[in-house]
């Protein structure tokens, strides 16, 4: 029986790999898990073990060629009754997990024998570094999606024709959902897959790479019975709470978050604000806050580093020409992010008015749907409730979010003397798919510099 050897997926964001060296020639005998070829991807170089024992029949991708993951690179004529099933593509187990691939998924810690299947399935790929111990057939998302009737380990996934069609159309991998459906015996039903799709786990077909769907937003990291102990009350989540949960889980699952922290001296701005506040508010009949200073600094930095003002679509970066700033507004029981559209075209007063107006209408529930859409970058302000700093979750489809801490007077070194300055901690959570550390830190330094060197008259 012929077993296909495919280019393995060496991490969530990897779409292709280069065969760098073949360790066997056609005709060579090979043992299962014996090193077969070497690859190089954007994230990792690795030695790939043979998925089955037998004879290397054909090499289809020569050394030096780059191919998409799941492409058949060789065929092994398997010896005797191999454990593999049919002519299904068999992805060798990754030799080592990339260091930027999260090894522990939510709930994947510990032994949790009763943990939901997605965790177990994912752990097979992500957390087991030893190829010899890994199953011969990795539960690689693409393999499962192209042949969704069976999971990677050859077991049938109980779903329905409709579910399989929706999975195909939305590029959802059913393997991680196996056995967790709401239908009889854990069968995946329409309801289950629609909730996965609406949670944003699926990507448009253009991306070309199926995305493994993790546990749904409401899924617990431990067996349910371990949640209920002692004395407790159970409060159902509001719709807004559920949506927030869904968006947060989807964002963390979609974007590899990295964080950058900076500190800015706000003394100059604080003095300016104290000086003109009364006159400003009298003249313009709107409150003068620190927010427009930060918005203005963010606009400057986004102009300088446009990739921070982008979105990720599969293998494309969508570089937004507008700068629309989402402003997180805390509500009594939740959170909403209205958007200052065209922030780069507004002057200081325009930004202040927009922020005050949106925040006020957010709290009085008078926002229009289009006013919470189309943000290109977001700002959150944990400082407004006194928070020193906060590391936010990215507001999808943005690739970064700026966190503003509380402005506090702190002793700092100024010209080799200790001075008392109004300081603020700024954080940037950014999507490492789109933004690298160097850019992120330069972006933050630009924000800092705009704030510290504020020149503009604001009256």
């Amino acid at each position: 029986m012929a077993v296909n050897v495919v280019m393995p997926q060496m991490g969530e964001s990897i779409f292709e790999g280069t065969v760098t060296k073949w360790l066997k020639k056609p005709g060579d005998k090979i043992e299962r898990d014996e090193p077969l070829f070497e690859i190089s991807t954007d994230k990792v170089d690795a030695e790939i073990p043979a998925p089955a024992a037998g004879v290397l029949k054909e090499i289809k991708v020569e050394a030096g060629q780059t191919v998409a993951v799941q492409t058949v690179v060789a065929i092994i004529e398997a010896a005797g009754s191999a454990a593999a099933t049919g002519d299904a593509p068999v992805a060798p187990a990754p030799a080592a997990a990339s260091d930027e691939t999260p090894a522990a998924l939510p709930g994947g810690k510990g032994k949790a024998a009763a943990a939901p299947a997605p965790v177990k399935a994912a752990a097979k790929v992500e957390a087991k570094p030893a190829p010899a111990a890994a199953p011969a057939i990795a539960a690689a998302p693409a393999a499962a999606a192209s042949r969704p009737a069976a999971s990677g380990d050859g077991q049938r996934i109980h779903s329905s024709p409709l579910v399989r069609r929706l999975a195909r159309e939305n590029n959802v991998d059913l393997a991680p959902l196996a056995g967790t459906g709401s239908g009889a015996g854990g069968r995946i039903s329409k309801k289950d897959i629609l909730s996965v799709i609406s949670s944003g786990a699926a990507r448009p077909a253009a991306a070309g790479t199926p995305v493994s769907a993790g546990p749904s937003a409401g899924a617990a990291a431990v067996p349910r019975e371990r949640i209920y102990f002692g004395r407790y009350d159970v409060a159902p989540m509001s719709v807004m709470r559920q949506k927030i949960a869904e968006h947060m889980v989807a964002s963390k699952r979609t974007s590899p978050h990295v964080y950058s922290i900076e500190e800015a001296d706000m003394t100059r701005i604080a003095q300016l604000r104290a000086r003109v506040k009364e006159e400003f508010e009298k003249r313009h009949e709107t409150k003068l806050t620190f927010m427009p200073f930060f918005l203005s600094a963010a606009v400057e930095a986004l102009r300088a580093f446009p990739v921070v003002n982008s979105s990720v679509d599969g293998n494309s970066l969508v570089m937004h020409r507008e700068i629309n700033l989402g402003i997180a507004v805390a509500l009594e029981a939740g959170l909403i992010v209205p958007v200052v559209k065209g922030a780069d075209e507004k002057n200081f007063l325009g930004l202040q008015r927009a922020v005050n107006d949106l925040a006020e209408r957010a709290r009085t529930k008078k926002l229009k749907p289009e006013e919470v859409q189309d943000s290109t970058f977001s700002i959150t302000n944990p400082g407004s409730v006194g928070g020193l700093m906060g590391l936010a979750v990215i507001n999808q489809p943005n690739v970064a979010i700026l966190g503003i801490g509380a402005i506090q007077k702190r002793p700092v070194v100024v010209n080799d003397a200790i001075g008392i300055r109004s300081m603020v901690y700024l954080t940037l959570s950014y999507d490492h798919r789109a933004v690298d550390g160097a850019i992120a830190h330069q972006f933050m330094l630009k924000v800092k510099s705009s704030l510290e060197n504020w020149e503009e008259e604001i009256l």
Partner: protein
């Protein structure tokens, strides 16, 4: 104006079609002087005379054979089977002759063979059968099974006006139980068009005749449990309204077919094959049937009750399907 029963709707259709078209004639056992075993032809002999309302000997073969011959002469005969169980006697006349006449000799056979079918009235194995499927399997015939008084009248009019042989299966359980206000004027219900009797989104129940009412009752129960069943009334089994069935299944993704006829070879199997072939990718659960078992209709009332599908059994199957 009092509401019109299903039975009276049939009588009105016969009356109005005879008044409209002098070529419409009736023949059958005890349909004239006696007015029919159930009264479907009451008063028509007095109104249209013995030449148009013919009492015949007790021979279903002769009745249908004569009706076919009369149709060749330009008449539009409506033959009554006292019970549709006896239509088996006419199998050869209907399947070998009436169904093929137009195909083979370009000679249409515009006859209607109508009569009561179905159980629920303790009629026993010879007066309760649902013999429609034998004829649904016969190209060249049309098979109609109305569930409401409005349809009984409108579909019978269309059947009489149709140039093909039409078998019209009335359900005797509905004769006096189902009534509604009917429009005053002339109207017809087209053959081959199903009707969505109740809108829903969680599953589709396809049924016809008496089982439509059991299905609607079940859907009412299910609605109280948060399961919204869409209920489709086939009205005509041949030709089958495939589009309405498929449209509903594409909407709800789950299908339950209910019929009083026995299971093997029932229309549910045909519909299941249709949906698997045309809408497989829209199915989110197995196609389920609720039907009578493969036995004759029992004489014993408790056994007949166990034999016939009912709202409780339909609701139970729907619940399981909705969660499957």
């Amino acid at each position: 104006m009092p509401q019109t029963t299903y039975l009276e709707a049939i009588r009105q259709a016969l009356d109005e079609e005879m008044a409209r078209d002098a070529s419409v004639v009736l023949l059958g056992e005890d349909i004239g002087v006696y007015g029919g075993a159930f009264g479907a032809t009451q008063g028509l002999l007095a109104r249209y005379g013995w030449e148009r309302v013919l009492d015949t000997p007790i021979s279903e073969t002769a009745i249908v054979g004569a009706a076919i011959g009369m149709s060749y002469t330009g008449l539009r005969p409506v033959a009554e089977m006292q019970f549709m169980d006896f239509i088996g006697c006419c199998f050869d006349q209907l399947t070998n002759f009436a169904a093929k006449s137009h195909y083979r000799w370009d000679a249409p056979v515009p006859i209607v063979v109508r009569g009561p079918s179905g159980g629920g009235v303790h009629g026993g194995p010879f007066h309760s059968a649902n013999p429609e499927m034998v004829f649904v399997h016969t190209p060249g015939l049309k098979v109609v099974c109305p569930a409401t008084a409005y349809d009984a009248k409108g579909l019978l009019k269309s059947a009489i006006r149709d140039n093909n042989p039409v078998l019209f299966f009335e359900h005797k359980f509905l004769y006096r139980r189902i009534k509604e206000d009917l429009p005053a004027g002339d109207y017809a219900v087209p053959l081959g068009k199903a009707a969505v009797r109740r809108e829903g989104r969680h599953l589709t129940i396809v049924s016809y005749a008496a089982m439509l009412h059991a299905s609607l009752e079940a859907a009412g129960q299910l609605a109280g449990e948060g399961i919204e069943a869409e209920v489709v009334d086939l009205r005509t089994l041949l030709p089958l309204d495939r589009e309405t069935i498929l449209t509903s299944v594409r909407k709800t993704n789950r299908l339950l077919v209910v019929h009083e006829d026995t299971r093997t070879g029932g229309i549910a199997g045909e519909i299941a094959a249709l949906v698997c072939g045309e809408a497989f990718d829209d199915l989110d659960g197995p196609i389920v049937r609720v039907t009578a078992p493969d036995t004759p209709v029992p004489s014993s009332p408790p056994l007949e009750e166990a034999f016939l599908p009912n709202a409780a059994r339909i609701a139970e199957a729907a619940r399981r399907l909705a969660q499957a």
